[in-house]
Every structure is written in structure tokens, then in C-alpha cells.
């Protein structure tokens, strides 16, 4: 467990975020989740900054990362998105909305038989690319799909 935590922390470069989270009492040491919330990545205001913070700068475009999302979302508050990676050995998937104030929406790690696939619902402030990054074998792969939003999902 300790070893795993160390590894994940190193990967996320988030030991600072851990200290902050612990100090704030958000995470109880007795029940720390393996990967701490990556504050640098989720707080990043631009796509390159977010990618850098998740350790996936300059990902290669790949058709083996698939995004299923509507072409036009009537309600930006609930945009259903399905993502999967056919790249062997995919261990992590990150989902970004380029034009949201905080582009990184979610990231997932998969182990013990979990397929690199996730369905979720996103908020989108306006028409934007939805971008998916898959990490496999130390490399990152990306794909993007534009979703047009007619009513924004951020703010009131």
C-alpha cells in the first residue's frame, strides 16, 4: 500500500497537494485514497497546463482512443460522454473540456481487470472540444471531439 501510494504520488507530482489536503483535514490518514486529488492539474486554467500537471504533455493523436458524445448538446449542464481506449496497457484516462474555466474534468486509473473505459456526464460552459488523454506504457495518446452547446451549463 505504501509503495503504491509513493508511486502514484510521484507520478502525479502532487506531494505538495497531499500536504495541503492533510492539513485541511480533507483526508484522514487512516483512510487515504491511493491517489491524492491532483490540485495542480484540476486548478489549471489552460489545457497545456493541465496536461503538464497530469504528466501528459504533447500527447500523440490516436484513433484508438474513442469518444462518444453528442454533436450538439442541448443542455450544457448534462452532456453524456463515453470514452474508451483500445491501446493495450492503458492505465489512465483523463477527460478535458477545452473551453471550461478549469479544463480538466476528471481522471481515472484502472487496475485489476478494469477496462480503460468510462461513461460520465459533463458540464460544458460553451461549445468546445472534449479531449481525452489515455496513458499507456509511459506514453500518452489523445483524441478530441467537438460538442456544440446551445445552453451553457456553468453558472446559473
Amino acid at each position: 500500500m505504501d509503495h503504491l501510494r509513493r508511486m502514484l504520488l510521484k507520478g502525479a507530482g502532487a506531494s505538495g497537494a497531499l500536504a495541503v489536503a492533510l492539513a485541511a483535514g480533507l483526508l484522514r490518514p487512516s483512510r487515504v485514497l491511493a491517489a491524492e486529488w491532483n490540485k495542480a492539474a484540476f486548478g489549471a486554467a489552460s489545457v497545456p497546463d493541465a496536461l503538464k500537471a497530469v504528466g501528459a504533455s504533447g500527447p500523440a493523436d490516436s484513433k484508438d482512443v474513442a469518444i462518444k458524445a453528442p454533436d450538439i448538446a442541448e443542455n450544457g449542464a448534462v452532456v453524456p460522454v463515453e470514452v474508451d481506449s483500445r491501446i493495450p496497457g492503458t492505465t489512465e484516462i483523463a477527460v478535458l473540456v477545452d473551453k471550461n474555466p478549469l479544463p480538466l474534468a476528471a481522471s481515472f486509473t484502472f487496475s485489476n481487470g478494469a477496462l480503460p473505459s468510462v461513461a460520465l456526464r459533463l458540464k460544458m460552459g460553451k461549445t468546445s472540444n472534449v479531449r481525452v488523454i489515455a496513458k499507456a506504457g509511459g506514453k500518452s495518446y489523445a483524441t478530441a471531439k467537438e460538442v456544440k452547446v446551445t445552453i451553457g451549463g456553468c453558472g446559473g
Binding site: L33, F108, G155
Partner: protein, 105 residues
């Protein structure tokens, strides 16, 4: 304390199709209430799923995940009767753990 999650785990071949609905406001911290005051950010940050005692998915979420988040995951090598446990923690330190068992498809 938040409402229980709704979890469904169904086998398709040897793959469990896990769907979960978490009851949570997922406030972004950018929305204003009727009086024009900002509603403070309050959202789920970490989720984790175990199947038969082993961690299969760990997720970190941001404010861009919709209210009452719904997730779908697939896990290979599952058997009917395997226990699925899902846990989340939000920005206020609130947390919830719910479980179900995998049912034959």
C-alpha cells in the same frame, strides 16, 4: 449525509458492467443563488471502486462533472456474487460508501 448511491453491476460474459449514480450537488463555486450570492464550491473529489476486495477504478473529479454524477465502468474477470464497493469523498470531507453484488446478466 448524502443519499445512498444507486449501484447496478451486471455481468456480460466475464465483464461486469457497473453503473453508479451518486447523489451530490457538485457546486462549481461559480453559480449564484437567488439572492445573487456565490454558492461555495462543493463537489466530489475522489471516487474509488473495489470488486471482490480489489481496487479496480480510482477517479479524481473536478467541478465539470454534472450534478448527481453518473458513471459507467467495465471490469473483466468478474463473477456473479462478487461484491462491488464504491466510495466517494467531497471537498467538505463528507464521504459515503455503498455496495452491491454483481448479478448474472
Amino acid at each position: 449525509m448524502a443519499d445512498p448511491m444507486k449501484i447496478r453491476a451486471r455481468l456480460k460474459g466475464d465483464t461486469a458492467d457497473i453503473r453508479v449514480l451518486m447523489s451530490h450537488p457538485m457546486e462549481t463555486g461559480q453559480r449564484k443563488d437567488a439572492a445573487g450570492k456565490l454558492v461555495p464550491a462543493h463537489y466530489i473529489q475522489n471516487i474509488s471502486i473495489t470488486l471482490a476486495g480489489k481496487t479496480v477504478v480510482e477517479g479524481q473529479l473536478n467541478t465539470a462533472v454534472s450534478r448527481n454524477p453518473v458513471f459507467g465502468f467495465k471490469v473483466k474477470g468478474a463473477k456473479a456474487g462478487d461484491k462491488v464497493v464504491i466510495h466517494w469523498v467531497d471537498t467538505n470531507g463528507d464521504q459515503r460508501t455503498d455496495e452491491t453484488t454483481v448479478t448474472a446478466g
